[in-house]
């Protein structure tokens, strides 16, 4: 699947649908300024003065200790806050340059797709095809176009063969692909995935991450991946945003971020990064900060195989 093919897909509805939110193409995909939120009945802010931007086509990992505000931030991005969760929302949030204030969750869903941790929470129809179609039907997309989009979404996620299966007949990885297809059919420019592989075995998790990475590279889909397990995902990301106590604590490329401050916040750095940190303390002459086994292996071979 190439970008051209993606562009060749029907766009009439897309442009019609996006009129209200269309901004300059150079504007960031997501821009948050001093964003804060306090849930009703809770006396402290769940997120506090959050500032960040994500450029179009970027692949960003959002991480941080349990309870740091990641989920709350995601709920702001897809409109569940303030539409479904009551509380005090302050600051500014722009998607493609347009303020999301007053936008419905349904409207936002055509710009930002959301994939949950457990695909079982997202799938409920009697067949994969019906599930992929569900969101489109809710948006009232004309039948012809809906069919084209469904075919396309199943194709890019590799589940066309499974169209007539019931979700409960699928493996965990196939279910997660179906959930991603349902989101892609809405043709969002941005996709947010909340620990999409945590229920999957490691092989299947790798396969799903590869699908996500391919969608990012080939379709230019802006990707925000919420993850704790940095061992498996770091290689895919352009940037890591670390939250701590409701604020953005660190923001930058993985090899720069995976250092002492991140260790102190208590995020689980990749094992190879931790190993190299310890090796340096022991006086082993390794100077790089690897984030993958391949990088670590190259560095060690330079020391031991020359």
């Amino acid at each position: 699947m190439h970008k051209e093919e993606y562009d060749a897909q029907p766009t009439s509805h897309r442009s019609h649908n996006k009129d209200k939110l269309d901004g300059e193409s150079l504007l960031p995909a997501i821009l948050a300024r001093n964003l804060s939120f306090t849930y009703s009945g809770v006396d402290r802010r769940s997120i506090s003065d959050v500032n960040f931007s994500i450029e179009k086509e970027e692949f960003v990992i959002l991480t941080g200790p349990s309870g740091c505000g990641k989920t709350t931030l995601c709920r702001c991005l897809n409109g569940l806050i303030p539409n479904f969760y009551a509380g005090q929302l302050n600051g500014e949030l722009r998607i493609n340059g347009v303020d999301v204030k007053g936008k419905s969750t349904a409207e936002l869903a055509t710009h930002i797709g959301f994939v949950f941790q457990n695909p079982e929470n997202q799938l409920f129809s009697l067949s994969v095809e019906r599930d992929v179609a569900f969101g489109l039907e809710n948006l009232g997309i004309p039948r012809e176009e809906a069919i084209e989009r469904i075919e396309w979404a199943m194709k890019v996620t590799g589940i066309t063969e499974l169209r007539n299966k019931a979700p409960y007949e699928l493996s965990g990885g196939q279910q997660q692909r179906a959930a991603i297809a349902g989101v892609l059919a809405m043709r969002p420019e941005i996709i947010i995935l909340d620990e999409p592989t945590s229920f999957l075995d490691p092989k299947t998790a790798e396969e799903i991450l590869t699908v996500i990475s391919r969608l990012n590279h080939e379709l230019g889909l802006t990707t925000l991946l919420v993850e704790h397990r940095l061992d498996t995902v770091s290689a895919f990301a352009d940037r890591i945003i670390v939250m701590d106590k409701g604020r953005i604590a660190l923001d930058g490329p993985p090899d720069k971020i995976y250092d002492e401050p991140a260790r102190l916040i208590g995020i689980g750095l990749p094992k190879v990064t931790t190993l190299f940190h310890l090796l340096r303390l022991d006086g082993v002459p390794v100077t790089t900060n690897p984030i993958t086994v391949t990088q670590a292996s190259e560095a060690l071979r330079r020391v031991f195989e020359d």
Partner: protein, 277 residues
């Protein structure tokens, strides 16, 4: 002791999911059951506390056949913490959730409050005692579900995917907590996909694939068995991948965690320096 002998099981209307499984887990053992999605791991542990009954074969806990005991009786011995905490939590506050568990098992008086406080503190959720479980983050809710089982002090503790949604520090805390349980001669069984967590804890690993046990032994030998790991849809631990990738290392095949890798590489460097001098 949990003993599974020649057990087969199928859910109504579907094909057999466990095929003639035999497994013995002794008191004070720490076991990780691993394997691909759909391998039958969760089904197997649901047999331990009698939630499911085998089609064939026997499951017994402390030498009593499970078919001679009710799930309520068994639950007191075998605490099962579900994968999804929301299948387990319902009370209005975290403390109430735990009190409910205790009262259900006939605990009364000051012992109830003492136990609630002790377990909340040890899992770092005491500050949420009076909050609704549903206002907590996913990782925190998971710890409340764990607390609501541990509070009645079952002898055998089964945790289905306990590390999902837990950050690094919480995993570390969980690991210490498991060590503590095991030192009290409790059986701890975890069902998990988290290879790196298992590589750090080094429990006995039971590897399942397609309803069968395909390997059983110490983490160091099972997680480095490439064929078995491949069959069970796992990946080798990062440290094992790394030391295997450097040819001159001739590394022993049992390095799976950061600390043994650090020691091995440090020693290799000393050896190399000694030789070049």
């Amino acid at each position: 002791m949990i003993s599974v002998e020649n057990v087969s099981f199928h859910y109504p209307g579907s094909s057999e999911i466990l095929h003639r499984i035999t497994l013995k887990i002794g008191d004070g053992e720490f076991v990780a059951i691993m394997g691909e999605n759909g391998a039958g791991k969760t089904t197997l542990v649901k047999l331990f506390n009698g939630l499911l009954k085998p089609d064939r074969g026997t499951v017994s806990v402390d030498n009593v056949n499970n078919k001679d005991r009710s799930v309520a009786e068994l639950s007191k011995q075998v605490g099962l913490i579900f994968q999804n905490p929301d299948h387990q939590l319902f009370a209005e506050t975290v403390a109430e959730e735990l009190r409910f568990s205790l009262k259900n098992f006939g605990f009364q008086g000051p012992v109830v409050e003492n136990r609630v406080t002790a377990i909340l503190t040890s899992l770092d959720i005491e500050k949420y005692a009076n909050s609704s479980p549903f206002m907590l983050s996913g990782g925190e809710r998971k710890r409340v579900a764990l607390a609501s089982i541990l509070v009645w002090d079952p002898k055998h503790v089964i945790m289905d995917e306990p590390t999902i949604g837990q950050d690094y520090l919480q995993k570390d805390r969980l690991r210490n907590f498991i060590v503590q349980l095991v030192s009290q001669n409790k059986t701890v069984v975890i069902v998990t996909h988290d290879v790196e967590f298992v590589a750090e804890c080094k429990p006995r690993v039971v590897l399942m694939s397609k309803g069968k046990i395909i390997a059983d032994g110490p983490a160091e030998s099972i997680l480095t068995d490439e064929a078995a790991v491949e069959e069970a849809s796992l990946v080798l631990p990062q440290m094992s991948q790394l030391v295997e990738s450097v040819r001159t290392f001739r590394a022993p095949h049992n390095i799976i965690d950061v600390y043994s890798a650090r020691k091995f590489i440090g020693d290799a460097l000393k050896e190399r320096t000694r030789r070049t001098e």
